[in-house]
Point group: C2
């Protein structure tokens, strides 16, 4: 397939468009998406138009928001209409959410009034809510159907539904009454009633629930799909497991980015412009640069100590890096634990006790190694050595406690724990470490 | 449910075991798993025995490896046998992989010879391979069956299979010939032949493929299940999407831990002992503490510069933190991009160009802010200010380039990119920043 992709891209360079059209039959959607990703922005529309009609919609939903915008602004109304008609409802909503308002109205112009209302309702669900990732393509049955009737109904409508493996039993007013799996339907005798085999004790989410919560439930229960209900327990849609995979990867990516002091973005790296990347990074870099002023003030405040013993300076980077690393380890464990639903604010006493224990153990070993390292490898006096080793010990223990506590506090006050990661903790631990270092030096060196 | 869980745990404290047994009916598996997690180690076996028989196996597979070991070593052979009999084959393998050898043989003793051979084969697949996460519970059909015969066959065997939604068409020698979904079977007329509706152009993986690769394919294609074949294209098992969710979360957790300089572990935080946590963290802390010696040597080497201008010291923490943060942002983007399959070594020229651009933009803004900050808020001379600002600019650009290049090089030589994260890069960038800082100071301050 790699060879074929290369060949097609070469045909594109050579502007042999008819040959591409033929070569693209038999190429699957992910590979076509990859090829578009390889092209320059201005070539993407042209290439997209060469894709076989019956794959165009599937390829379109998989493109990045940036590329979708380029394509929608370039192609004609009938072309847009054809693509949108092919899309599943939840993919349609995803696409519309990415587009700017003028393009959305360009698209909505081409839909029926009923669908326009439904789309507007979906676009109003908060980003990252169950409502924003659910689909309306599901099979609904009523409790008084027989298995044979149910299977007949599925046969009639099944082909247009994104998932038919779980069927939802609803009342005439759309209240969710139970679920029945296709597996159960095909393994039962035809004359059994749906209400006799449906599961009534079901797990569901509400339209406004956070998508991360929904992902936890999927993982804990091993579901393939889950119903979404409104305040009156009416079925409004279903969430399917393939969308949950996207949620899990997005949430992890966001956490990685926040923990590295960036504004999160779910656009693929290679398709993000230099300006956007710079914008996402500069805010936190400036904030952290300015908060690092504090360490500068502390050092200036202890100028006399430094003047008296310049060798103290040579251990500052090691103390700061070690404090940062120790805190980073603890905060990463806790932030990840919170994200996976394994750790919660109510566990704070247990967590602090654990980190205190871990801190004492690792600090002891490190202090030991450090003491002999300084003794044998540097000209530092015993007093300086003890100053460094003592500061190292306290810094490591303190870093572990701050590292685990801050994310839990953030979680408690409904802030995102991930922003309390490494860079934030490093700044706090640095300030403590430096102050302790100089005060200890003052006492032990008799300054 | 929260209330009920609290009530049950109180009953447990009060040793009212009979009442617990009754109360546990109607509690679902994830909540029982949660309750066991809340208990002390020594109480877990007792509580586990109170769980209704038909949920015991499902609860057991969801427990942490640590808890499974405690339970297996405490309960009797017939009890183990009963649990193992209830498990799906892939869950059974997962459990066996977590247990020490003596417990594995205790369990294997209770199985048939044929199953023992199959289990041994599965235990030999490398950890993190497709073979290690696949299951043997799938529906296989032959191409000359009719739809009616196929549905009849599914009815007979369906209930014991983990997934029947995709059926696999195999030859008499087990070579994979095609797939057909249950959706297609129920929506077709009964006398159509399987070979006429089966999809022959299928995506599959091999037993030895890495589970992360498999997860990428699931995400790209939106599959619910995927066949696994051996070297002769014979079907050996299938991987289902619920196991892929576990893979994705595990791989992310590992990356988070490696990036924070820890030995990865997939045990839940609260159930990991202090000793294990300390052991996972100490190695990298010591390595990084010792490599930080380099910065100490650099500072000692420029002792004369420091003696002449002690104010230079007060900017060292800010320069180091900023370099670390800037590098961390770049490395996080690239490590995550590699993990998601979006970025590869072949993109290195593009990536370097991008990071160079981003570096220049953010470095310019930061240098600007920093210059005026020093000018108005510190007593530093213009020469010192220019030294700091110049070093800051170069450090940020350099950090971006090192931050993106190291993970790509690691990936190229088949090392894990995640170990090239923040702490490693910080050490390299620190050394460059300090050297540049002192050399610039020497020149500009005329020392």
């Amino acid at each position: 397939m790699e060879d074929k992709m290369k060949e097609i891209l070469e045909l594109f360079e050579a502007k042999r468009y008819k040959a591409i059209r033929e070569a693209l039959y038999g190429v699957d959607v992910p590979h076509m998406v990859d090829m578009i990703g390889e092209l320059k922005d201005q070539d993407r529309v042209l290439f997209f138009r060469l894709i076989p009609k019956d794959s165009a919609a599937a390829v379109f939903t998989e493109l990045s928001g940036e590329t979708q915008r380029i394509i929608v602004s370039a192609i004609s109304d009938p072309e847009i209409h054809a693509i949108m008609n092919e899309l599943y409802f939840d993919d349609k909503i995803d696409v519309l959410e990415e587009l700017p308002a003028n393009m959305v109205s360009k698209i909505l112009k081409n839909t029926t009034k009923a669908e326009r209302q439904l789309i507007n309702q979906f676009l109003n669900y908060p980003e990252d809510s169950a409502g924003s990732i659910m689909t309306i393509e599901y099979v609904s049955l009523s409790r008084d159907m027989s298995v044979a009737e149910a299977l007949e109904h599925i046969k009639e409508i099944g082909l247009t539904r994104e998932t038919i493996y779980t069927c939802y039993v609803i009342s005439p007013t759309k209240v969710l009454e139970g679920i029945v799996s296709l597996r159960d339907l095909v393994t039962q005798e035809p004359d059994v009633l749906v209400e006799d085999i449906m599961e009534e004790d079901i797990v569901f989410v509400s339209t406004w629930d956070d998508q991360e919560e929904v992902a936890h439930i999927f993982r804990d229960y091993g579901f393939m799909a889950m119903p979404v209900v409104d305040g009156e327990h009416r079925l409004t849609g279903i969430v399917t497991i393939d969308d949950i995979i996207d949620v899990i990867e997005e949430e992890s990516t966001e956490d990685f980015q926040k923990m590295a002091a960036m504004t999160p973005s779910d656009e693929p790296y290679l398709e993000t412009s230099i300006w956007t990347l710079a914008k996402n990074r500069i805010t936190w870099l400036i904030i952290l640069m300015l908060t690092a002023m504090i360490t500068g003030f502390i050092i200036t405040g202890f100028n006399d100590v430094l003047q008296a013993s310049v060798i103290l300076v040579s251990f500052i980077p090691m103390l700061m890096d070690t404090g940062g690393n120790a805190g980073n380890q603890a905060s990463t464990m806790i932030i990840r634990g919170i994200a996976l639903g394994e750790v919660d604010y109510k566990d704070i006493a247990k967590v602090l006790a654990k980190e205190f224990g871990v801190g004492i153990i690792v600090a002891f070993i490190m202090a030991f190694v450090n003491f002999f390292r300084i003794l044998f490898m540097t000209p530092a006096s015993l007093a300086v050595n003890v100053t460094v080793t003592f500061t190292l010990f306290i810094t490591v223990v303190f870093a572990k406690l701050v590292g685990c506590a801050l994310p839990l506090f953030a979680h408690r006050v409904k802030l995102d724990p991930a922003i309390m990661a490494s860079p934030m903790i490093t700044t706090i631990v640095d300030a403590l470490a430096l102050t302790l270092y100089f005060v200890t030096a003052k006492i032990l060196l008799g300054l």
